[in-house]
Amino acid sequence: MFFRMLRLIYLYKNLTRNILRTILTCAAVALPITIFVLSTSVIDGIQGFLDNSAKQLRLAVTHRASVVNPLPYGYRAKIESLDPTRTRLLSVCGMRWIGGKIENDPRPLSTLAADHDTFAATFPEQGLTDEEIELFKRDRQAILVGPSTAGEFRWKVGDRINFRPSVPPYHPLEFHVVCTSEFPNKDPVTNFCRLDYFEEELKRTAPEWGNPEGMQPTGWVSFFFVKCATRADLDYFRVAIDDLFANSPDETKTQDEKTFINEFINQLFNLPRNLTILAIVTIFVAIMAAANTMSMNLRDRMNEVAVLKSVGFPGAQIFTLVQTESLILCAIGGVLGAAAPYIAFNHTPLKDFTVPLIQHLDVRWFVCLKSLMIALVVGVLAAAWPAIAAARMTVIGALRALE
């Protein structure tokens, strides 16, 4: 007990002997850990988004040739006919991308026109209240605005807003905001308006925007989302839907929603992969910085180690001493590096900071905990070489090396 106390005191003295060096090392470890926490949070955010998609048991039906090729709207009834009882195939929601842009404002909007009757049932993570569902069904011009979009443009429920779709008819349409609320796992930017309203406008204004001959302006959707009851049903309908339209003019490609979204994410700079590389590189920097300190510490205390050895401390104990010192250093750095982004992104105005793709940067405590663990591993790795060198050092050699 006494010796253990003594060892702790010795460790403490060692760390405070060169307080400046301890502080600098902690900082040099803390900053890479901060970067690690942030990049892991972004990756986790993407993963969480994908996991939610997987949990929703939804299929995305697109055109087999390309995502951008439209599908005939009539496919909805055909897909629904696969299960008329609606017990296994719960709902089908058609959607058409219309983008959008407010007059004289460069910021693009992300808007989809969707089937109003099945939207709420297909997307429960939108968290619509009964009242909002009712409004969406009753008002042709209703629009559900993504919470962060609503914040950006200062839109609130009850507002009448105008914007131009990025596709025909290209002229401003009026919408009535019925929902701007947040909900867990809800996509915070995308707006949803009603497909029937959009199509009606499209048909009405066809002469204006010059609907070309031989082209049917309405009756097309970009994709269908199909909500299934169980995982088995999901696998069944994924094949059944494609079989249904095989050899038809517009063959379909049905994927589960996670695969569908992942395809887009991978095209955006391959974000998850590149961030992982970055995280590894920064950890490498932290190891280097800590290893530097430990080897400097050892060199300064060469004579001490020699003395310890000569009075009978075994190599293993000296090894543990060096390792523990490095562990403590990196633990302090790790705690600082992990706590800073946790506090900054959960309890300061930075909370509302948005990043592309996942929007809210959610720095979770277990990511911080994981980073702390990694900081400890950094400590072990950084001290490996100095600790082995110290343990192996012969008394004679060390004493002779001194001036």
């Binding site: 090392t25 970067i35 390309s66 925007w209 609907n211 095209q267 955006l268 391959n270 920097v285």
Partner: protein, 390 residues
């Protein structure tokens, strides 16, 4: 009198381990900086090289990109009166009607993840409107034949686009087109595209319209006048200089630059601490030596500069190593999905002289800031005390 450089060099070599570790830290920071900036520079360079200031791009008012624009023949006809449009030797207007569509093609790497590649239907006149298009291999497609030509970047990045390859196009992906030519376009965004006969694409996709029209102006024509005419009541379409259109697409690069600045800022501060740590250790280890130098007549400034030089020496050498490592990325092809056009732009990473300069600035900053405090401490060592202590 300053200390000889050789003195600094010997000192660095003497403390091999900590010099090497500090060196690696700075080199990694420089590498991350130049790699991130190389992404941004690659995209900017590709988009900046696209388009000609003599060209005007006409879209439907309200459309945000070529891919969502729709021009009917009637609207194209109104463009024929635009003032200042150039004519070729046969007297034909240099007015190129273009149909932009997209197709999903697997990438060559990454387990063949699909990418949305732009397909552009053009007539023969397009190659006069876009004279930057040069043939690298093969030839131009014959009008009316099921043939396409492919940009160099697209060929390198996506499967089956080499000379002689075939791709399935059309709304039902049931028309087989053969690749008969590979072109380059001064490194611009057009190199990420597939070009083919417009009339066949119109039929294959059932799109009886154009997406955009590119006009080439005569050498001395006033672009502003032409744009005003097209935006005005006579035509009522939206005209932009081609170069402006592509400049607007490069807003994405700003995000990467911001990311690079934030990340490298944090890592750079970490590196400053690492350097300061090493230099403090160096100073402490050499108190006696410094006192000796002072005694034989070297001034405080000489000591101060010696330590600054020592640290900047580590950092500049590390910087060149980091840059050299990032040069391996130079020229590697990446692509990204533009959220305006929904098509991928393949580009080459570029480590430009500007990037090298900013890397050097960061390295010098790290070296100098990290060494200031230790160097000041070294210059203030009290001679008698330090000599006696030993």
């Amino acid at each position: 009198m300053p200390l000889p450089l050789y003195y600094n060099w010997r000192n660095l070599v003497r403390r091999r381990m900590s010099t090497a570790l500090t060196f690696v830290v700075v080199a990694v920071v420089v590498f991350v900086l130049s790699a991130l900036l190389a992404f941004a520079a690659g995209i900017s360079a590709s988009l900046a090289a696209t388009g000609s200031s003599r060209n005007i791009l006409v879209l439907k008012p309200g459309a945000t990109a070529e891919s969502t624009s729709l021009l009917v023949p009637d609207e194209v006809a109104r463009l024929h009166q635009t003032p200042g449009v150039a004519r070729d030797a046969d007297g034909n207007l240099l007015l190129s009607q273009e149909l932009c569509i997209q197709t999903s093609i697997p990438r060559r790497e990454q387990h063949g993840a699909l990418a949305n590649v732009a397909v552009r239907g053009v007539d023969e006149v397009a190659f006069k409107v876009h004279p930057e298009i040069q043939w690298v291999e093969g030839r131009m497609f014959r009008p009316g034949a099921m043939e396409v030509v492919v940009g160099e970047a697209a060929r390198d990045r996506y499967a089956n686009l080499e000379l002689g390859g075939t791709i399935e196009l059309g709304r039902l992906a049931n028309r087989s087109f053969t690749v008969v030519g590979i072109f380059e376009a001064a490194g611009g965004a057009l190199e990420s595209e597939i070009w083919g006969p417009r009339t066949l694409f119109v039929d294959a996709y059932g799109r009886y319209f154009n997406s955009s029209v590119a006009l080439r102006l005569a050498e001395n024509a006033d672009a502003e006048e032409a744009i005003k005419y097209i935006n005005g009541p006579a035509v009522e379409l939206e005209a932009k200089r081609e170069t402006d259109y592509y400049k607007d697409l490069s807003t994405k690069t700003r995000e990467i630059v911001i990311l690079a600045v934030v990340l490298v800022g944090i890592m750079g501060i970490g590196a400053v601490f690492a350097v300061a740590n090493t230099m403090f250790a160096a100073v402490d280890g050499r108190r006696r030596e410094i006192a000796m130098l002072r005694t034989i007549g070297f001034g405080r400034t000489a000591i101060l500069t010696a330590f600054l030089i020592e640290s900047t020496l580590i950092c500049t050498v590390a910087c060149s190593l980091g840059l050299a490592a990032s040069l391996f990325l130079n020229g590697s092809r990446q692509d990204f999905l533009s959220d305006t056009t929904w098509t991928v732009l393949a580009y080459e990473l570029r480590v430009t002289p500007g990037i090298a300069a900013s890397a050097l600035i960061v390295a010098l900053f790290v070296g100098v800031i990290g060494a200031v405090a230790p160097a000041v401490r070294a210059s203030r060592i009290r001679v008698i005390e330090a000599l006696r202590k030993a």
